[in-house]
Amino acid sequence: MSFPGQRYLGPRPNTLIIAVCVLVALPVVLTRPVWTDSAVVLGVYALLGLSVGISYGQAGILTMSQGAFAAIGGYAAAILTTRFGWPPYADLLVAMALPAALAYGVARLVTRLSPLATALATLALGSVIEILIRNADALTGGYIGLAGIPSVGAINTPAGYACLAWGMIVVTVFLYENLMCSAYGRALNVLRVDQARARADGIDVPALMSAGFAVSAAVAGAAGWLYAHYISFLSPESLDTHISISALLMAVIGGAGYILGPIVGTLLFDGLTRLMPAAELQGFFYGAALIIILLAARTGILGLLAGLARRLRRPDATPAPRAANLSPQESLP
């Protein structure tokens, strides 16, 4: 017999899994310099993937501006530390708050549109930010970019950054899981499936979607902050739309609706393609993986595994009908 609240009081399973995996894997990874460097870059991508998970997997906003949000975070860090002499911890707050505020404002304007139009709006937003960065020479260094971004305090080795990156991921997963185990997380799930239902529950749909998008942008901003301090150089090409699309693909492949899905996607595919000899073939592997996932497992790798686990537990159970079958379009304006 379960008691009320058991699930909430129980340990956060996703946080526990990622924390244990990081603690086990990091000591091994840190023994090889190449792996250590990859761990930092993958960490940045995984954070971006998580930001896509929050936006697309939960709030239902197919986002193509995460790279731009990361660029804002990165440039905020670069400008504040190199031009204004801020200490490299204090700038993290700005690097997260700035994209979050922008994302919230933009989402309030565009989420009343259809999902596809909203997706295109995020793509346009990303392009606008990129153009602004290129043209604001005085502040961003324009095409040349900004160099000499200081390292984060005492953390100045790749090993230190690898620990920082994956520490940030554990914290992000913890916060993400907190949110999903709360009334707001449930509400996000409802509005992604059925907005009319969400409104009938008393959910202010545009406000909550925008809040989710803001959280997602804040995580992307943190990824940009980490990238800027690690690489110590930032140019308009560093975090562009190409990165936004990659992050989206990784999240979808791993399972955007699952908290750890984007991390699985990032590790599996970006990790694997790094091991491949020819960098030019990366696009081929990404495309092939995406097609296979969309054909065979719409909910990503974790969705596929969850489906298998469910079937093993109850071999006789027929798959639950899809939401669409239960709620055919009742015309609600």
Partner: protein
């Protein structure tokens, strides 16, 4: 002002089509009001209008004297009006418990940022919601099913879950859109029992129903609609026996005697 949910002179037009033309309906706390009428007579439009999904072109909706006309749906819920949908809109993968927990949204005390950070207040709030869901599940006989996925339940049970979700919002008035459609006789009886119990606890119920037997046994008052107008209102017995209602509505499915025999 008077207690209760009242909609007066409600008019709704979609382009040139007048879906509702001056409809009055009232629900008192603790009472069950029935709404009958053929398909297309405007029952669901009236529901959409009261709950803010559709803006009326004229008319007023008040709850205990407070004007809620033209408020968006999420604000209407905060004034204590909750609804179900004719076709249940549920996530089949959600558990019964989490579906009911969704109903609490409009009165969650924890903030978004607090929930994100997992502050102790947010943890306590979540436990409180789980505790408050229990009596609602018990009341509707769903306690044993709390861990089941909604998609695996019968239509009757899904509709009960929807009622539970309404009650979780703290609604003083619930609007049930054809809750008995597609239910077996036993399920209908169980639903009627639960609706009576809900009303007995002081909640006003407005119910769209086609089953005349159920309307007569369940409702305290009834209103018949036809092509967007009130045809007749009063006690269920009087409305059901009204000649115009019989012609407009019962004529389609046979005479009253046949209906009584069926019920």
């Amino acid at each position: 002002m008077s207690r209760g949910l009242t909609a007066t002179g409600i008019e709704v037009a979609f382009g040139g089509v007048h879906a509702l033309r001056g409809v009055d309906v009232a629900v008192e706390p603790g009472k069950v009001a029935g709404l009958i009428g053929r398909n297309g007579s405007g029952k669901t439009t009236l529901f959409n209008c009261i709950t803010g999904f559709v803006r009326p072109t004229a008319g007023r909706t008040t709850v205990d004297g407070v004007d809620v006309t033209s408020l968006p749906p999420d604000r209407v819920v905060k004034h204590g009006i909750a609804r179900t949908f004719q076709t249940p809109r549920v996530d089949p993968r959600a558990t019964v418990l989490s579906a009911v927990l969704c109903g609490f949204y409009s009165r969650v005390g924890a903030s978004f940022v607090g929930s994100l950070l997992g502050v102790p207040g947010a943890w306590r709030e979540e436990q409180r919601l789980h505790r408050r869901a229990e009596p609602i599940l018990e009341r509707l006989g769903l306690a044993e099913l709390r861990g089941r996925e909604v998609g695996q339940l019968s239509m009757g049970l899904i509709r009960l879950v929807e009622v539970a979700r309404c009650l979780a919002s703290g609604a003083r008035f619930v609007l049930l859109d054809e809750p008995a459609a597609g239910l077996t006789a036993a399920e209908q009886e169980r639903l009627a029992e639960q609706v009576r119990a809900v009303a007995a606890s002081g909640v006003g119920v407005l119910i769209v129903e086609h089953n005349i037997g159920l309307v007569r046994s369940l409702c305290d008052t009834a209103t018949a609609l036809e092509t967007g107008r009130v045809l007749c209102a009063g006690t269920p017995e009087a409305v059901v026996r009204d000649e115009r209602v019989m012609r407009s509505y019962l004529g389609a499915i046979g005479d009253l005697a046949a209906t009584e025999a069926a019920a």
